[in-house]
C-alpha cells in the first residue's frame, strides 16, 4: 500500500488512527457492561453508607448492572478516599466522597487531595447538629456550652476521627466561643454509629453529627438534638435553633456527600452518571427515602460540585490552622 504513494499511505494511517480513536471512544458508549464498584469510605450503617446504598440501588435500576457498595473504612476516611483515588480510571470504580476528602492535605496526611478525583455530582448536604444524652444535667445548647466553659476537658465529645469534620465543627464552634479548642476532650471514633452507641451508654456527653443520624436514638428517648452548627435553619428540622442564633457566631461547616471517580475516568462515564444522579435526585421515591431518614437532597452538577469542594478545602485549611491541627 505504501509504495503506491506516501500521501495515500498517510491517509490510510490517519484513518486507521481515527478508527482506533473512535473505537476507544465507543468502548464507553455501552458503559456499564459489567458490575460497577461504589466505594464508601465510612462504616456500614452510618449516614454516608445509607445514602450511598440508596443511590447505588437507583443507579443499578437506571443502568441495569449491579452497583456494589464496598465499605473501605479506617484512617478517618483516608483509606476509602485513597482507594477511590488510586483505583483504575476505567469507569468501573466510583466512590462516594465526603468533606473529609478536602482536609487531609491541610493536616499533612499524604494520599488524597481534591485534585485526585473526577467530580460527578453532589446529592446531599446537611448541617451538623449537637446531640446530647437525654439524661444530661443540661437540656439545651447554652447549658452545654456553660459546662464546657467551666472545664473543657470534662465534656467528652465524639462523632469521627481526630481532625474529621465532626471534630472540626465542634472545636471550630468552641474556638469562636473563646473556649480553648486544644483543651476540649475529643474521642476518636470510626464514624457516627459507634459514637452514638457511646452516647447512649453514657460514656460520652456530646456527639456532633447530622440530626438524621441521631434520629433513631432521639426517638428512643436516649438522646436529644439541641442545635445545628450552622448559620441557617434546616427545612427538615425547622424547630432546631442554630448556633448562630444562640451564640451570635458565624461558623457554618456544611458537609456534603457526592459521587466522584478517579482522575482520568472517561468523560462519557462522568456525564452518564452525572445525568443519572440528577435523575435520581429528582425521583420522588429517592426524595421520600432521604426525607424519611432526615437527609436533605441537594444536587449539584459536576462543575459546581468541584467548585464547592475546592472552596471547602480552602476554608477548612484556615479553620484547622486556628485549631492547631494543620501541619
Amino acid at each position: 500500500m505504501f509504495h503506491q504513494g506516501s500521501a495515500r499511505g498517510c491517509l490510510a494511517l490517519c484513518m486507521a488512527g481515527a478508527m482506533v480513536f473512535a473505537g476507544a471512544g465507543s468502548a464507553f458508549a455501552d458503559w456499564p457492561e459489567k458490575a460497577v464498584t461504589v466505594i464508601v469510605p465510612w462504616s456500614a450503617g452510618g449516614g454516608t453508607d445509607a445514602t450511598a446504598r440508596a443511590v447505588a440501588t437507583e443507579l443499578e435500576e437506571i443502568f441495569g448492572q449491579p452497583f456494589n457498595v464496598v465499605n473501605r473504612t479506617g484512617g478517618g476516611g483516608l483509606v476509602g478516599h485513597s482507594t477511590i483515588a488510586t483505583s483504575p480510571a476505567d469507569g468501573y470504580t466510583l466512590g462516594v466522597i465526603t468533606i473529609e476528602s478536602t482536609m487531609f492535605e491541610a493536616q499533612g496526611i499524604p494520599g488524597v487531595t481534591p485534585a485526585d478525583f473526577a467530580y460527578i455530582g453532589r446529592f446531599n448536604a446537611d448541617p451538623i447538629a449537637i446531640n446530647i444524652a437525654a439524661d444530661a444535667e443540661y437540656s439545651d445548647a447554652a447549658g452545654l456550652i456553660d459546662t464546657v466553659r467551666a472545664d473543657p476537658g470534662a465534656v467528652a465529645a465524639s462523632g469521627a476521627n481526630r481532625g474529621g469534620l465532626s471534630h472540626l465543627a465542634w472545636i471550630g464552634l468552641l474556638d469562636r466561643l473563646d473556649i480553648d479548642p486544644t483543651a476540649a476532650n475529643w474521642v476518636a471514633s470510626d464514624g457516627s454509629a459507634p459514637a452514638l452507641q457511646q452516647l447512649a451508654s453514657g460514656a460520652i456527653d456530646v456527639v456532633s453529627t447530622s440530626p438524621a443520624e441521631a434520629q433513631s436514638l432521639v426517638d428512643a428517648g436516649q438522646a436529644r438534638t439541641v442545635a445545628l452548627i450552622s448559620s441557617e435553619r434546616s427545612a427538615l428540622y425547622p424547630d432546631l435553633p442554630t448556633t448562630t442564633e444562640l451564640f451570635d457566631t458565624d461558623w457554618s461547616p456544611l458537609p456534603f456527600r457526592g459521587i466522584a471517580a478517579p482522575t482520568g475516568t472517561p468523560d462519557e462515564v462522568v456525564s452518564k452518571v452525572e445525568a443519572a444522579l440528577k435523575e435520581i435526585t429528582e425521583d420522588s421515591a429517592f426524595q421520600d427515602f432521604m426525607a424519611a431518614r432526615g437527609f436533605s437532597v441537594a444536587y449539584q452538577d459536576a462543575a459546581t460540585f468541584e467548585q464547592t469542594v475546592t472552596s471547602a478545602a480552602e476554608g477548612f485549611g484556615s479553620a484547622m490552622s486556628s485549631a492547631g491541627l494543620a501541619q
Partner: protein, 503 residues
C-alpha cells in the same frame, strides 16, 4: 408482645410468597455458604437487586434465610476440607475436621446442622420474648465494656485452643500484631505498610483464614505427614441425624449455654456473633467433665459453639431493628432495604407496627426449621465429596483456596496473603502452635485497639476508668480472675509435680 400481634405476624409469614422467598433464600445460601471464601455478606449484597421487585417482608425473609443458611453451610467445607466458612466457624473447624479424619464426617455435619437449627430456633424464641429488652441492655455497652469483651474473647481463645496456653498466646499475639498493619484507626498514620498502598488497607482475615487452614493442610499432605481419613467412611456413618437425640440428652447444658451466650452476645453491635462462638467453645472446655478430649473430635464443644453462632445471628438484628444501629454489613444492607420499602427501623416501628419486627423474627424461626431437611440433603451430598480420592480432591481444594482469596477484593494481593499465611500456618502447626487464635486475633485486634483508645480518651488517660462503670468493672474482674486462676493452677500443678518428684 401480645397474642394478637403474634397471630398477625404469623399470618404474614405463612403466605405463599414469603415462604417461597425463605425456601429460595435458603437453597441459595446453602450453595454460597458451602463455597469457601464466599461470605454471608456477599450473599446478601447479591440479593439486593432482587428485592426491588418484592414486598418488604419477603425481601427481608430472603435475606434472613440466605444468611442463616450460609452461616450454617460454612461448617460443611470446615468439616470436610478444613476450610472454615466464617470466622465464627473457625472456632471449631479443627474439632469437626478431626471427626472427619476419624471417619465420622456424617456425624460432624449432623451435629452442625442439628444444633445450629436448634440453637437458632431457641435464639429466635428468646428474642421474641426479650428482644426490646436485650436491645436496651446492649445500648448500655460503651467502649469500656467492648474492650473487656474483646479481651475476654481473646483470653478464652488462647486458653482453650491448644494443649499449651503459652503457645496459644503466641499465636494470638501474632494475629493481633498482623491486625495492626494498615492505617492507624485514630489518626490515619500508616503502620507496617512498607510503602505499599495495598497494605494500607490492612490484612483481611479471609485470605489468612483460607491460607492457614486449607493451604497449610495441602502442604502437610505434600510433606506426607498429614493425617488422612481412615478407610473410606461407611455409608452407615453418613445416616444424617443418627444418634443426635442421644447427644441432646447427654449434653443438654451445652445446648442451653451455647444458645444463651449466642443470643446475649449477638445483640451487641459489631462482632457479637463471631465472638459468641469462640466464647461458647471456651466456656464449654472450661466446664466440661472431659476437657482433655477437646480438639480431638469431641462433640461437646462443637454443640455449644455451633448453637451459639446461629443464636447470635438472629439477635444481631435486634439493635438494627430497635434503634436503627446495624451491627454488621448484613444488617446494614437489610436496614437499607427496609428504608427503600418505606419501613423505618427504630423504636417507632415497634410502637406503630409491632407485627413487622415480630414477623422478621418468625422468619428466622422458619429458616432455621428449614435447616433440618436441607441439612439432610447436604449431608447425603457430602458423601459424594468423601468418596472422591485424595489426589483429585487436593487440586480442588487448591482451586477453592485461590478463588476464595481472590474473590475478597478481586486482586491477586489476596492470593499472595493466602499463600504466605499458608506457609506460616504450616510451620506453626509443625511446631504445635494452634492456628485458630491467629484468626481471632486478626478479627478482634482492631476492635480491641479502637475501644481501648476511645476509652483512654474518655477517661483522659486514667487506667482506672476501665473499672469506673459497674458492668465494665465486673467484666474486668472476670478477666483478671481467669488470668489469676490459670496462673495459680499452673504453679500449683508444677509444685505438686515437684513435690512428687522429691518424695
Amino acid at each position: 408482645m401480645s397474642a394478637a400481634t403474634l397471630a398477625t405476624s404469623l399470618s404474614m409469614v405463612i403466605e405463599a410468597h414469603v415462604l417461597l422467598a425463605i425456601l429460595g433464600g435458603a437453597v441459595y445460601g446453602l450453595f454460597i455458604g458451602a463455597l469457601p471464601g464466599l461470605t454471608a455478606t456477599m450473599a446478601t449484597a447479591l440479593l439486593v437487586p432482587l428485592t426491588f421487585y418484592m414486598a418488604p417482608l419477603p425481601s427481608i425473609a430472603l435475606i434472613v434465610a440466605s444468611t442463616t443458611m450460609a452461616i450454617t453451610a460454612g461448617d460443611i467445607p470446615g468439616a470436610l476440607l478444613r476450610i472454615p466458612g466464617t470466622p465464627a466457624s473457625a472456632a471449631y473447624t479443627g474439632e469437626s475436621h478431626a471427626m472427619t479424619l476419624r471417619g465420622e464426617a456424617g456425624r460432624a455435619l449432623s451435629i452442625g446442622f442439628f444444633f445450629s437449627a436448634t440453637g437458632g430456633m431457641i435464639g429466635a424464641a428468646v428474642l421474641l420474648l426479650t428482644g426490646p429488652l436485650l436491645a436496651r441492655v446492649s445500648l448500655n455497652f460503651s467502649s469500656f465494656e467492648f474492650f473487656w469483651l474483646a479481651v475476654l474473647g481473646l483470653l478464652t481463645c488462647a486458653l482453650v485452643s491448644g494443649s499449651n496456653p503459652v503457645k496459644g498466646g503466641v499465636s494470638l499475639a501474632l494475629g493481633v500484631l498482623v491486625s495492626t498493619v494498615g492505617l492507624d484507626i485514630t489518626t490515619g498514620q500508616p503502620r507496617f505498610t512498607f510503602g505499599s498502598m495495598e497494605l494500607m488497607g490492612g490484612v483481611s482475615f479471609i485470605p489468612v483464614m483460607i491460607g492457614m487452614f486449607a493451604f497449610s493442610e495441602i502442604l502437610r499432605g505434600l510433606s506426607s505427614d498429614g493425617a488422612r481419613p481412615a478407610a473410606a467412611p461407611e455409608t452407615r456413618s453418613l445416616r444424617p441425624y443418627a444418634g443426635i437425640p442421644t447427644l441432646v440428652l447427654r449434653y443438654p447444658l451445652s445446648l442451653l449455654r451455647g444458645t444463651t451466650i449466642g443470643a446475649s452476645l449477638g445483640a451487641l453491635p459489631g462482632v457479637g456473633g463471631d465472638l459468641a462462638a469462640w466464647i461458647a467453645y471456651g466456656v464449654s472446655a472450661r466446664f466440661s467433665k472431659t476437657p482433655e478430649k477437646f480438639g480431638k473430635g469431641h462433640e461437646e464443644g462443637l454443640i455449644e459453639a455451633t448453637s451459639a453462632n446461629n443464636a447470635g445471628l438472629s439477635s444481631a438484628w435486634i439493635p438494627a431493628l430497635v434503634f436503627g444501629i446495624p451491627g454488621d454489613a448484613v444488617t446494614a444492607i437489610a436496614v437499607g432495604v427496609l428504608y427503600m420499602k418505606g419501613v423505618s427501623p427504630g423504636p417507632r416501628l415497634f410502637a406503630e407496627n409491632p407485627s413487622m419486627p415480630t414477623a422478621i423474627i418468625l422468619c428466622f424461626f422458619v429458616a432455621n426449621l428449614l435447616l433440618f431437611p436441607l441439612g439432610y440433603l447436604a449431608i447425603k451430598g457430602a458423601r459424594l465429596v468423601l468418596m472422591v480420592p485424595r489426589n483429585v480432591i487436593v487440586p480442588m481444594i487448591l482451586v477453592c483456596c485461590f478463588l476464595g482469596s481472590y474473590a475478597i477484593n478481586n486482586t491477586l494481593f489476596g492470593v499472595g496473603i493466602m499463600l504466605v499465611a499458608g506457609l506460616v500456618g504450616y510451620v506453626m502447626e509443625r511446631n504445635d502452635f494452634p492456628i485458630a487464635p491467629v484468626i481471632l486475633g486478626l478479627v478482634l485486634g482492631p476492635v480491641l485497639e479502637r475501644n481501648f483508645i476511645m476509652s483512654m480518651q474518655i477517661a483522659r488517660g486514667d487506667l482506672l476508668g476501665f473499672f469506673d462503670r459497674p458492668v465494665s468493672a465486673l467484666l474486668g474482674a472476670v478477666v483478671i480472675a481467669i488470668l489469676l486462676f490459670t496462673v495459680i493452677s499452673r504453679i500449683r500443678n508444677r509444685s505438686a509435680r515437684h513435690l512428687r518428684r522429691l518424695s
